[in-house]
């Protein structure tokens, strides 16, 4: 997030796109609702009529995968009606002319054809957003989990810059992170192309810096992303995989493909707290300690580095993930002598500029938001306050492209997937809770009543949902939360798993798979 969670409550306008906030980030959802109660206007763009859509001022129920067209049309209206922030654009941005050029084509009427959202709604949303002083944008996986994910994110940034809504209180572009420490995993260099602190691996100085810090020669060749790893494994080029705390068999698109890849590997290690679906394919499974059994830090979606504390002794013979890896590093001839999580943190703060000023003592009581370059720096609530990291903000105009897979006669529905309030990710944790399982014990597919009628499906019927990659049977939930032609499934469940169906087409830049759009057909089972 460029801004902080607390600021949401004071926004005048909140534009939520591709985020079912009240279910996936329930506590942030309460900030949105409180803002609404204080008089804020809410704009929602989502293929489903989610809870926040019901209390929104403008709800744009767009066709899955048409974000760019919608956002471009909003910018078209803003420029057309001269609502842009000229001063901000002039002083802080570049490439405005190209943006103007690109969005010129996207009249609301044209966008209506693509997105299915009435042109007038788009106009209204654009005006409300542009005219407010404090307007923030919240988005989540409904924006990023597309083959055009990067373009979607660029478009959101373009919109915010166009209206000068960056670097200011209660504004900004705010991705809501799904898992507790996605932010931290990225910050720490858990990505194939960057060292900790987003320092690119192909830049010589960075390589040298880390070679010095770690005392070994390093590769400057960017590595494989998750999706590429599976492709390479199937091709026989990737031989061994070490998985720490992930369950790609359920969470990744196209389950069949993932399993094929795992089976093809010569050696697979899985380290987790439960024997997950993925662990079943491992050669060695290592018992990890849960978050309640270890010390450390998580970084939340507003970049706040917060403490995790050991509350109980390790269950069974389990060990903290870091302890296990350190043991293996030592045995492979790389000597390291960390005695505690704090020791590791002190080292990572030295090589990660954003974390340089943070230590356990400083965050004992309250977490600090990075960047925090020095020990006396209070942390950063709002990014890009005076200037952007790269100097000037660059407009990156994008054109609308259709999703990789479009509905056709054979597969006439668009399937979109997501999370629900009562479960988390692949349910390794929430699936163990009786109460949650009583409330939300099985997978389902949401179908619009008109479609249901057409196919003779009633609420609670077992239906077969089929894509080009596979087929699952789940219960039908007849609801007008989804529009005609669109069906929705939660992706948590191993039984009736949505990711048997989803597409592995992925974004060229981020390699994020297109989990939000694929073509399916349904029939009563």
């Amino acid at each position: 997030m460029t801004n902080s969670i607390a600021e949401i409550e004071d926004a005048e306008v909140i534009f939520i796109i591709g985020s079912n906030t009240t279910e996936n980030h329930p506590v942030i959802g309460t900030f949105v609702k409180r803002a609404k109660n204080k008089g804020a206007k809410i704009i929602v763009a989502d293929p489903r009529e989610i809870e926040l859509a019901k209390l929104s001022d403008v709800f744009m129920q767009l066709k899955p995968g048409t974000n760019v067209a919608l956002l471009n049309a909003m910018m078209n209206v803003i420029i057309e009606e001269n609502l842009q922030d000229e001063e901000f654009i002039k002083e802080r941005c570049e490439n405005y002319d190209e943006l103007k050029e690109v969005v010129k084509d996207y009249t609301p009427e044209k966008a209506e054809v693509i997105t299915g959202v009435k042109a007038d709604l788009i106009r209204e949303a654009a005006r409300i957003y542009a005219k407010a002083d404090k307007a923030c944008i919240l988005y989540a996986m409904g924006v990023t989990q597309h083959a055009t994910g990067t373009e979607n994110v660029y478009s959101i940034a373009n919109l915010a810059m166009l209206c000068g809504k960056l670097g200011k209180e209660s504004c900004g572009v705010n991705p809501l992170r799904g898992q507790n420490n996605v932010q931290g995993a990225c910050d720490m260099g858990g990505l194939p192309d960057v060292f900790p602190g987003y320092q690119k691996v192909h830049i010589k100085e960075n390589v040298e810096k880390f070679e010095k810090a770690w005392g070994v020669k390093l590769s400057d060749k960017p590595g494989l992303t998750v999706s590429e790893m599976f492709h390479e494994a199937i091709k026989g080029k990737l031989k061994a995989l070490y998985i720490m705390g992930e369950n790609p068999v359920i969470s990744d698109p196209d389950t069949k493909h993932v399993i094929e890849a795992l089976e093809k590997l010569e050696f697979l290690v899985v380290q987790d707290i439960f024997l997950t679906e993925t662990a079943q394919y491992a050669d060695v499974v290592l018992p990890a300690a849960s978050f309640a059994e270890k010390d450390g830090t998580f970084t939340n979606t507003e970049r706040r580095v917060q403490r995790v504390r050991k509350a109980i002794n390790n269950v069974g013979q389990s060990k903290a993930d870091w302890e296990i890896i350190v043991d293996i590093m030592n045995r492979m001839g790389y000597k390291c002598s960390y005695k505690s999580a704090r020791d590791i943190f002190d080292e990572l703060a030295k090589v990660t500029p954003q974390y340089a000023g943070i230590d356990y003592d400083r965050i004992e009581n309250e977490g600090i938001q990075w960047p925090c370059p020095t020990k006396d720096h209070p942390g950063t609530k709002i990014l890009h306050k005076d200037k952007f990291a790269r100097g000037k903000g660059l407009f990156k105009p994008t054109k609308y492209r259709t999703s990789a897979e479009q509905p056709d006669d054979e597969y006439p529905f668009i399937l979109t997937t997501g999370r629900i309030l009562y479960h988390y990710h692949t349910m390794t944790m929430t699936g163990k809770n009786e109460g949650l399982m009583k409330i939300a014990g099985e997978s389902y597919v949401e179908i619009n009543p008109m479609d249901a009628k057409k196919y003779g499906i009633s609420d609670g019927d077992l239906v077969e949902v089929t894509s080009r990659r596979g087929s699952v049977r789940v219960k039908a939930k007849i609801t007008d939360v989804v529009n005609e032609g669109v069906v929705f499934m939660p992706f948590h469940y191993a039984d009736g798993s949505a990711n048997v169906l989803t597409n592995t087409a992925y974004d060229e830049v981020t390699k994020e798979p297109e989990l939000k759009v694929c073509a399916v057909r349904i029939k009563k089972a």
């Binding site: 994910g149 260099g189 858990g190 990737l238 439960f274 059994e293 450390g296 995790v308 949650l436």
Partner: protein, 348 residues
């Protein structure tokens, strides 16, 4: 700055504070039932009354602003008598259940009765006879113990903004309930437990899987392991097991949690937890020692690295592990294996 006197001592405090806030700032404790820092003062419970010199009546500290020169007594005889009277009234229709009540030890009513030496009511008992609503999976509501402070209703409506509960009927029959008294399970309640967290007495309590008394648990502050909001919470520990969760009142969640963070902690001590390393032999997992597992892993990785080169190995780090662990994992891949093949399911 304003000059005021509290219990005979002089203080300087900022303008615009209530008496309650001023007292808190200078470390004088004033009891409250219905007050919550996050909500506008409602002044309904009256237990926070104090004596202000020159004022005809006792004043509710939570809703009276301090003025320059104010002279305040927070435990004068008049104040104490008023508080005793309030407690006396509450106890007249409160079940005396501290022997086994789950709230005992953290109950505000109990605390104040102890402080002011109220052992029971001198009024004719007028006990309520409501059914306990156990319909929610995670908590129960016992209206018989409710003191009608209204905090749960206000938190659900003004902070959580779900609006599942409200007050029904009037006078002695007033009680907290869901629309049409249909039970919490049949309301819009999302089981966040945020009402439970503010109830000053034993009227709203989490259902316990393992019995414990409030004084038996150790509370360990940590960060929630579910979504990216990073709510701060306490794990309640008894006999080396996590038996409950309570929210922390501070940034970023300000005392709010969701159903997962608040109630879905039982995976931690679940019987299915992996407890020893497993090595697959002939397609079947067999228990192994750490040494065996390490030897096997180190042997295989070294062999594959030598035969096919470091880029034939990859690691998946985790958005669920700590920063320290993510750092170590990528360092392992980069510095020890020698590849940048490191990623995680951030995008999923």
């Amino acid at each position: 700055m304003l000059k005021i006197k509290i219990n005979g001592s002089e203080f300087e405090v900022k303008k615009g504070l209530t008496i309650l806030e001023a007292c808190k700032e200078v470390g004088v404790e004033v009891p409250t039932f219905c007050h919550d820092d996050r909500l506008k003062p409602s002044g309904t419970c009256r237990i926070c009354v104090v004596e202000v010199e020159g004022a005809r009546n006792l004043m509710a500290a939570c809703s009276t602003p301090v003025t320059d020169g104010m002279v305040i007594w927070t435990e004068s005889k008049k104040v104490v008598d008023a508080r005793k009277e309030i407690l006396n009234l509450i106890l007249a229709n409160h079940p005396l259940d501290c022997l086994t009540c789950e709230k005992s030890g953290e109950c505000k009513l109990q605390d104040l009765c102890y402080k002011y030496g109220i052992k029971g009511s001198t009024f004719k008992p007028n006990k309520k006879e409501y059914d306990v609503d156990e319909s929610n999976e995670f908590y129960y509501s016992d209206p018989n113990k409710c003191i009608l402070c209204g905090k749960c209703v206000r938190v659900c409506n003004e902070l959580q903004c779900t609006g599942a509960i409200g007050f029904a009927q009037r006078g002695i029959k007033t009680h907290v309930t869901t629309p049409f008294d249909k039970g919490i399970a049949n309301s819009t309640c999302v089981s966040c437990g945020n009402c439970v967290a503010v109830c000053p007495v034993g009227a709203l309590m989490p259902k316990k899987k393992m019995k414990y008394r409030t004084w038996e648990v150790k509370k360990v502050r940590t960060t929630c392991s579910y979504c990216g909001v990073g709510c701060q919470l306490y794990l309640l520990v008894k006999d080396d097991k996590v038996v409950g969760v309570e929210p922390y009142f501070g940034e970023p969640n300000r005392g709010l949690l969701c159903v997962k963070g608040r109630f879905a902690y039982n995976f931690i001590n679940h019987k299915d937890r992996l407890k020893t390393p497993l090595i697959k032999k002939n397609g079947k997992f067999e228990e192994a020692t750490w040494e065996e597992a390490y030897d096997y892993i180190v042997g295989r990785l070294t062999e594959i690295k030598e035969k096919y080169g470091p880029d034939s190995i990859a690691g998946l780090t985790s958005a669920r592990c700590t920063n320290e662990e993510n750092y170590i994992m990528q360092k392992f891949m980069r510095a020890v294996i020698g590849t940048n093949n490191i990623d995680h399911c951030a995008r999923l």
